[in-house]
């Protein structure tokens, strides 16, 4: 029972997971292995800390990524890893849940922190619960100890171009009764909110789409990106889904978060709690966002936002 394993849907997530993976492998004195759907990525994964790269067989036409569950389960039974970390993307989460059920082990979902218990090979895994109101720490009694780790939780692993590693071809067959009929890629509008230094976030208190013009103006003045709460993306559909923040959406760490008409439901706050400074404008003085904010103004958006634009514009000379 040893070895740290990593599987993620995309290359950048694999590089992130190799970072904690490498530290754990060194502390536990075991090997670090990463899965790659494309053998061409093996040298990069090795340079970023992998001792072994398992190259997965190509998927058949129409097979979804989840078809790898059978392959990963076969390999895990054969090679008995001690820890298995999986990138917490939508597909990654399904794969991990099904794999944990097949392997009869525990899975810490949406893990935000990993530590070894002193002098042991037992992982203490942190995650949020109660919509982000609480932090839960769990231990897994079976092996492998599994966790899905949210993208962006760790910095990518350090690259050492001279590192050596082994490439292993995996031959188990992928299988799936689910068949892909069609796919459409999402066109990203604007920049990635998780990279933004300043975020202007729109909540339900922004009552009509016409007010979005003002919001955009404020974002332009401060040089920020626009994000929103889940209902604004899903129900109102004023903004694309990839910019809603929260426990089920993007989790961000900007220098400044400006919440406009955001009530501050805990599920949303869970996605912004790492912000350096939180500033909120809301008409309701009892809105929970004020408990989560450094600075707040209780007032009507239509009045406050133009004043903010003027004042910020004057000082920033925009």
């Amino acid at each position: 029972m040893d070895g740290i394993w990593i599987f993620a849907e995309r290359q950048e997530q694999t590089l992130e997971l190799l970072n904690p993976g490498r530290s754990l492998a060194d502390m536990m004195g075991v090997k670090l292995a990463a899965f790659a759907a494309d053998g061409g990525l093996a040298p990069e994964y090795i340079a970023h800390g992998a001792d072994e790269v398992f190259v997965l067989p190509p998927l058949l036409p129409g097979q979804p990524l989840e078809s790898y569950v059978a392959v990963l389960a076969d390999e895990a039974r054969k090679r008995t890893p001690g820890v298995f970390l999986i990138g917490a993307t939508p597909r990654g989460k399904e794969i991990a849940a099904r794999l944990a059920a097949r392997l009869n082990t525990g899975l810490c979902s949406g893990c935000t922190g990993l530590h070894l218990r002193d002098g042991s090979n037992v992982l203490e895994m942190e995650r949020l619960m109660f919509g982000g109101k609480a932090v839960q720490k769990v231990l897994c009694s079976a092996r492998p100890q599994m966790a899905t780790v949210l993208p962006g939780t760790f910095e990518p692993a350090v690259c050492l171009p001279d590192r050596k590693g082994v490439v292993v071809e995996v031959h188990s067959a992928s299988s799936s009764e689910v068949r892909i009929v069609s796919r459409s890629a999402r066109h990203r509008e604007g920049a990635d909110v998780t990279e933004a230094k300043i975020i202007v976030c729109v909540g339900r208190g922004v009552e009509s789409e016409e007010h979005m013009e003002r919001v955009r103006e404020l974002a332009r003045v401060v040089g920020g990106e626009i994000a929103c709460t889940r209902p604004i993306a899903e129900e109102c559909q004023w903004l694309p889904e990839e910019v809603y923040l929260g426990i089920s959406g993007k989790r961000v760490k900007p220098d400044l978060y400006i919440g406009l008409g955001v009530s501050g439901q805990i599920q949303h706050v869970a996605g912004i709690r790492e912000s350096k400074v939180i500033f909120a404008v809301n008409r309701d003085e009892n809105a929970p966002i004020f408990d989560a904010a450094d600075y707040g103004i209780v007032g009507d958006m239509c009045r406050v936002v133009p004043l903010l634009i003027d004042e910020l514009g004057r000082l920033l000379k925009v």
């Binding site: 979804p64 993307t89 939508p90 399904e94 849940a97 944990a100 059920a101 097949r102 009869n104 082990t105 525990g106 899975l107 810490c108 979902s109 619960m129 109660f130 982000g132 109101k133 609480a134 932090v135 769990v138 231990l139 897994c140 009694s141 009764e177 689910v178 068949r179 892909i180 009929v181 069609s182 796919r183 890629a185 999402r186 300043i198 401060v222 040089g223 899903e234 426990i247 089920s248 400044l256 805990i266 706050v269 869970a270 709690r273 350096k276 400074v277 500033f279 408990d291 904010a293 450094d294 600075y295 707040g296 007032g299 009507d300 004043l307 004042e311 910020l312 000082l315 920033l316 925009v318």
Partner: protein, 261 residues
């Protein structure tokens, strides 16, 4: 006729949970319980199938006997019957136990073609029970479903999955399990007639002794504390002077700077 199972969880209302700032202890006080919000969309989707395709819908939950009132709540939302898998030990279960208990309760006891689950639960939000249940029952599954269609007389469903890189439409042969996103529908609010009608619907109880061996738990919770939230909480007025002070405070924090553009 299509037989549908919809799974739901009776959870503590997280909005009622308070925290002691000094000790970071959670205070549950008089916190109420509710059907997990994500699961209301699962129930609604099942009921939509009931209306459009004449499906029969059974709502299933795993809980301690004290959660009994969740049944009436669930039944008032439209399912034909409820299955209450209960035991005093069914408290703070880990997702592997919940999925094993559900699988044992459903297998050979409830006829189904389709199982509909929510995206996750309001309390744990582990998002595991749906796909893990599908594995334990040996049926295919699709998660993150934002649209579900079924052509009668065909033994499959078409599910549109909303993923982080786009949409994926999949064909899933029945019997199958799907977990649905909140955007899939708007759950109806039960009318008084529906609330009263719920009392007349059929409820099956399943006891621990009838389930056979349930493995796990595999996860042990060693600590739960309130998430730290040390914020200054300074307020300014909504007039010009207040806005000026607020903007000044942001400049002093060094999070705004001249010439950012």
């Amino acid at each position: 006729m299509l037989n549908i199972i919809t799974c739901f969880k009776w959870v503590i209302d997280e909005a009622d949970i308070k925290a002691d700032a000094a000790t970071r202890k959670l205070l549950f006080g008089r916190a109420g319980y509710k059907i997990s919000a994500y699961d209301r969309h699962a129930i609604e989707e099942a009921v939509r199938f009931q209306e459009q395709h004449g499906a029969s819908v059974a709502a299933v939950t795993v809980a301690p006997p004290s959660a009994k009132k969740c049944l009436k709540d669930a039944l008032s939302r439209g399912p034909d019957s409820a299955c209450f898998v209960n035991d005093p030990s069914f408290l703070d279960l880990d997702p592997s136990q919940t999925s094993s208990i559900l699988a044992a309760a459903v297998r050979g006891r409830i006829k189904f073609d389709l199982i509909i689950c929510g995206e996750g639960s309001d309390d744990l939000y582990a998002q595991q029970v749906g796909p893990a249940l599908a594995e334990r029952l040996g049926i295919p599954c699709a998660t993150c479903v934002s649209k579900l269609t079924y052509a009668e007389d065909e033994k499959h469903i078409i599910a549109e999955r909303r993923l982080d890189d786009g949409m994926e439409t999949v064909l899933v042969p029945l019997p199958a399990l799907v977990s649905v996103l909140p955007g899939i529908n708007t759950p109806r609010i039960p009318t008084l007639k529906e609330v009263l009608g719920a009392a007349k619907k059929e409820i099956f109880n399943v006891a621990l002794e009838e389930l056979g061996d349930i493995p796990g738990p595999y996860l042990k919770t060693v600590e739960v504390v309130a998430a730290a939230m040390d914020r200054r909480g300074i307020r300014f007025s909504a007039d010009e002077e207040g806005v000026r002070s607020a903007v000044n405070a942001l400049f002093k924090e060094g999070v705004l700077s001249q010439g950012v553009l």
